[in-house]
């Protein structure tokens, strides 16, 4: 169990929203589906805590970046399916570019660039 935890990467503050929006970019999905998608796409490295996932989903919904509908699944069960709104798409773009900047900045710090010497 302990081992399992060590393998997990703690999500950076604020990155969960980006991951959810990005996941929904590929198509509408329910909460469990979103957590599974993030997990498999990250090669099991990122595990979304359910305790963070649902508050995040409802927060994004409250901000009108995603919207939710009840759909009936294959075995006749109701699931709440989320999809991106137009505002959410715009938000995704801006969050992506922000993430880009952050990761470049961090990469710059971690690999001492040659420019530093000039």
């Amino acid at each position: 169990m302990k081992q399992h935890y060590q393998n997990r990467i703690e999500l950076l503050q604020g990155t969960l929203d980006l991951l959810i929006l990005q996941t929904l970019q590929w198509g509408a999905q329910h909460g469990y589906g979103i957590s599974q998608a993030i997990r498999s796409r990250s090669g099991d490295a990122l595990q979304v805590d359910t305790g963070s996932l649902y508050p995040a989903l409802h927060r994004l919904e409250h901000q009108k970046w995603i919207k939710a509908d009840w759909k009936t699944s294959g075995n006749n069960q109701r699931v709440r399916v989320y999809q991106l709104t137009a505002a959410g798409k715009k938000q995704l773009l801006s969050e992506r570019s922000r993430w880009q900047q952050i990761s470049e900045a961090i990469a710059g710090i971690l690999s001492p660039a040659k420019e530093n010497e000039t």
Binding site: G51, P55, R78
Partner: protein, 889 residues
């Protein structure tokens, strides 16, 4: 809302259930054992309740949800302790109700704009003389301002209230009438309910027989029918066509029945030097009061140069109408609002005390909540919800009481406050009530809540039975502070009330210079349309007096133009031969009386004699004769031809002001260019106000002012029995002479005096009620704290008694604490009162704001009450049976 809410929560449940099912399903698909799959999935999910809560937080109405939850819980808690809830709610209802009542008056009188269009632009225009900034105006002065100003959009001159006889169908009725320039209603900014206001030009002779009725008069005389328009009302035997009816709320000037046009010329009003009118104006858009003031002042300065005899040292005052209307009541209303706020403060302190005691009992509950993970903020919020609910319940109950008081205030006009705006329980008042109850709820709830939420878990859990010592000490100190401040505030209120009560007593017993016992006063107005000549009028009055004097039970009867303590007019007078007449000018209150007036009123002669019948006859046309005589003899000097002089009886103060210590009998003073010879001197009368000094007065024979037809004449009679019983006989006598005349303003002289004390009486009554409430609250508060203290220390006292402590030791132990608190409270309160009573000094009469007798008596009284409140629980402590006390816990 609540349904929507529940559905949303169910959906969240369903969403998380679906999550669990899918997770378990995946685990099954991976080949896990079905029982374990569901269990693992649940474990992976974590704390479902926490997920629920944090998710719900995202919806954005979590606070409301928490609030409702807290409110539900609080209601349950309050229901479970009905005793506490009842006492707290009643205490708060008293405080909040009293505040709502007083605020509703403040709102109507001081806060609400006047009910006119653009009310901020409406002003009163008055004349200013030396140290009197607001006096009545003369017509001729007004016409200059009206035609020359550049800052007023319009202005309107009007008479003061006049008394007319409404004749015609039914019994004759005295009607309050104001005559106005035609534009009066448009300057004021008020539209009639029915018909129209006066059209321009209707204030000219010949077109002026039109009338605008008040709502009340219209209801009384035309049963509220629209047919009233075009009908006729008969006033002083003259027909007036009704052109309009004002709405019910319209009440300016106050209590007027009918408005009729005023002849808008100098002939119709008055010449310079005769000041018996009022004026209103409407500022042009964007013009300030100051601009209008300097504009009109410039005109007044010019008038002073052109007409030095009448207008020297005269200026004009422009003042917002609302300021003028509320001037008299503002200080007393603010004083009462302050006093009633103190009562609320006391109520708060008491409820805070109750809450503190309750906090001790609920310690275990708080510990439990904290153990289960409630943060301090969360506990605080819940306790504050409880206290705000309490105060809202108090406000609800208080509103019931206040609305009863307000509807009573609405139904009377005796409240000595302006009634231009009706008092009502409107949205502003409701908002105020809800506002103060929330503030008050937090105010009295915060300290106990902070205290209760200071849970030290480790300590609390260790101490299983006894309350946490440190916390109890802190709480005890808070309680002591509450008792001290209650005693201090209550002392302040009591001293204020004490000073006013003494003022009231002083005014009651003040010698106003007349003996009001068994004196009845009745007003009567002879219309000049029927009694045209002076001999006609004189004959009527002579016959009337003869008849009244002959009535059984009547000792004496007389006529007078004005009564003591009523609206009056005054003339300037200076001693004959004074080198600088302006420097020796004395303002004399004038009254026109029949000789018996002095005997009826009990005003003693201090020198000289009463009017002779020759003087009375001569007064009928003396002014005219004198004017003709001086025209014929331009070189005439004062001191010659005394047979033409008017005669007067002066009050002692007037004689002193004119001639200091010389004998005034036979001396001559000049008033309005007419020489007047002094025939007698009488005792001083306080003509203006009981609280001011004696008024210099001059009495003239009534025959001199018989042409006055708009202001009533007063019949004053001294009766041998209860004065009221003479009224019907006098009415019969009047109507035998002329059955169209009506009697009005029928009052005993004692009522006239009482009316002068209305302000003081209202202040004293209300402040005494507030002070009594404050005293009860402070006594209950002190008693509560002391009993609590005794209950807390029963164990300790039991041990002390068991170890041999004598009752007096116990007494000094418990009482000592109470006495210390009361002593500190009284000291602070007295210091507070010393600095505060100067605020009410303007309401006082015959007693200094620092009156030592009041301070000592009230302080001693309060100390006594406080000691009694301490003594009752102490006695219980002294009876403690050590065996019982030791078994107590």
């Amino acid at each position: 809302m609540s349904f929507f809410w529940r559905r949303k929560q169910q959906e969240l449940n369903e969403e998380i259930d679906a999550h669990l099912r899918m997770a378990a399903g995946d685990r099954l698909a991976r080949g896990e054992n079905p029982g374990r799959a569901a269990q693992l999935a649940r474990r992976e999910l974590g704390n479902a309740t926490l997920i629920h809560e944090t998710t719900r937080d995202q919806w954005g109405w979590r606070w409301l949800e928490t609030f409702l939850q807290d409110a539900r819980y609080a209601l349950r808690m309050l229901r479970k302790s009905p005793g506490f809830t009842t006492v707290a709610v009643l205490t708060l209802a008293l405080g909040i109700g009293a505040n709502t009542g007083i605020f509703s008056i403040v709102e109507a009188v001081l806060l609400r704009p006047l009910p006119f269009h653009d009310p901020d632009r409406v002003v009163r225009i008055l004349e200013a003389v030396k140290d009197l900034p607001y006096t009545s105006i003369s017509g001729e002065d007004y016409f200059d301002w009206e035609s020359q100003n550049r800052t007023l959009q319009g202005s309107s001159i009007a008479t003061f209230t006049q008394n007319y006889n409404a004749s015609g169908a039914g019994a004759p009725e005295a009607v309050a009438v104001v005559r106005t320039e035609a534009n009066f209603f448009s300057v004021l900014g008020a539209d009639p309910l029915l018909g129209r206001a006066f059209a321009s030009g209707e204030d000219q002779v010949g077109k002026d027989h039109v009338a605008v009725l008040s709502y009340g008069f219209w209801r009384r005389h035309f049963a509220g029918s629209a047919d009233a328009l075009g009908k006729t009302v008969e006033l002083n035997y003259q027909p007036y066509t009704v052109v309009g009816v004002m709405p019910r709320w319209f009440n300016y000037p106050e209590s007027i029945d009918v408005w009729i046009p005023l002849d808008h010329t100098v002939q119709g009003t008055s010449a310079r030097g005769n000041y018996s009118y009022m004026a209103i104006g409407r500022l042009k858009q964007g013009i300030t009061i100051q601009q209008a003031q300097s504009d009109l002042s410039a005109i007044a300065a010019h008038q002073s140069q052109l007409y030095p005899d009448t207008n020297k040292d005269r200026n004009v005052s422009v003042i917002p109408l609302k300021t003028r209307i509320t001037q008299g009541s503002r200080p007393q209303l603010l004083m009462l609002l302050g006093a009633v706020a103190l009562v609320l403060l006391l109520a708060c302190a008491n409820v805070a005390n109750l809450l503190l005691a309750r906090a001790a009992r609920r310690e275990r509950e708080m510990v439990l909540r904290a153990t289960l993970g409630a943060s301090r903020m969360r506990i605080l919020r819940q306790l504050l919800t409880e206290s705000v609910l309490l105060s809202l319940a108090g406000a609800g109950l208080g509103l019931v009481g206040a609305s009863w008081c307000i509807s009573f205030a609405q139904s009377t006009t005796w409240l000595p406050i302006p009634h231009t705006n009706p008092i009502s329980l409107n949205m502003t008042v409701l908002a105020f009530t809800v506002g103060i109850s929330v503030v008050v709820g937090v105010l009295f709830g915060l300290a106990p809540a902070l205290e209760a939420s200071r849970v030290n878990l480790a300590e609390a859990l260790k101490e299983s039975t006894r309350s946490v010592a440190s916390s109890a000490g802190w709480r005890g100190k808070l309680r002591d502070v509450l008792v001290i401040s209650e005693i201090a505030v209550s002392l302040g209120l009591l001293i204020g009330a004490g000073l006013l009560l003494r003022t009231f007593a002083r005014m009651r017993s003040a010698d106003i210079g007349v003996r009001p016992n068994n004196v009845l006063t009745i007003a009567i107005a002879l219309p000049d349309t029927k009694y045209k000549t002076l001999p006609d009028r004189r004959a009527f009055y002579d016959r009337l007096l003869t008849r009244v004097q002959a009535l059984p039970g009547i000792e004496d009867a007389a006529l007078a133009q004005t009564l003591p303590l009523e609206e009056d007019h005054s003339w300037g007078g200076y001693p004959e031969g004074a080198p600088d007449w302006r420097a020796s000018l004395v303002q004399l209150r004038v009254n026109f009386v029949t000789p018996d007036y002095f005997r009826v009123m009990g005003i003693p002669f201090r020198g000289g004699r009463n009017f002779s019948s020759q003087e009375i006859d001569r007064a009928l046309d003396s002014v005219q004769q004198y004017a003709e005589f001086t025209k014929k003899h331009p070189s005439f000097q004062f001191g010659e031809h005394r047979e033409f002089f008017c005669s007067a009886v002066l009050s002692y103060a007037a004689a002193q002001a004119l001639w200091h210590n010389q004998d005034p009998i036979g001396k001559v003073f000049v008033s309005g260019n007419i020489p007047v010879q002094v025939v007698g001197v009488v005792g001083d009368v306080k003509e203006e106000d009981i609280r001011t000094g004696a008024t210099p007065s001059a009495y003239f024979p009534m025959t001199q002012e018989l042409d006055n037809s708009f202001y009533a004449e007063r019949i004053v009679v001294k009766t041998k029995m209860v004065p009221d019983s003479a009224v019907s006989a006098i009415r019969a006598s009047v109507q035998q002479l002329d059955n169209s005349l009506s009697l009005f303003s029928v009052r005993t002289m004692q009522q006239v005096v009482a009316e002068n004390m209305e302000d003081t009486s209202l202040q004293t009554t209300l402040l005494s009620i507030f002070a009594a409430l404050g005293l009860i609250l402070a006594a209950v508060g002190t008693y509560g704290v002391m009993s609590y203290l005794v209950t807390q220390r029963t164990h300790e006292i039991g041990i002390r008694v068991a170890l041999g402590a004598q009752p007096r030791h116990v007494l000094s132990l418990v009482m000592g604490h109470g006495v210390r608190l009361a002593g500190i409270g009284v000291t602070i309160g007295a210091a507070l009162a010393l600095s505060l009573t100067s605020l009410i000094s303007s309401f006082l009469f015959g007693v200094a704001p620092t009156d030592p007798a009041t301070f000592v008596a009230v302080t001693a009284f309060l100390l006594l009450v406080a000691l009694l409140a301490c003594y009752i629980p102490t006695r219980r402590a002294m009876r403690v049976d050590p065996m019982v006390a030791l078994r107590y816990e």
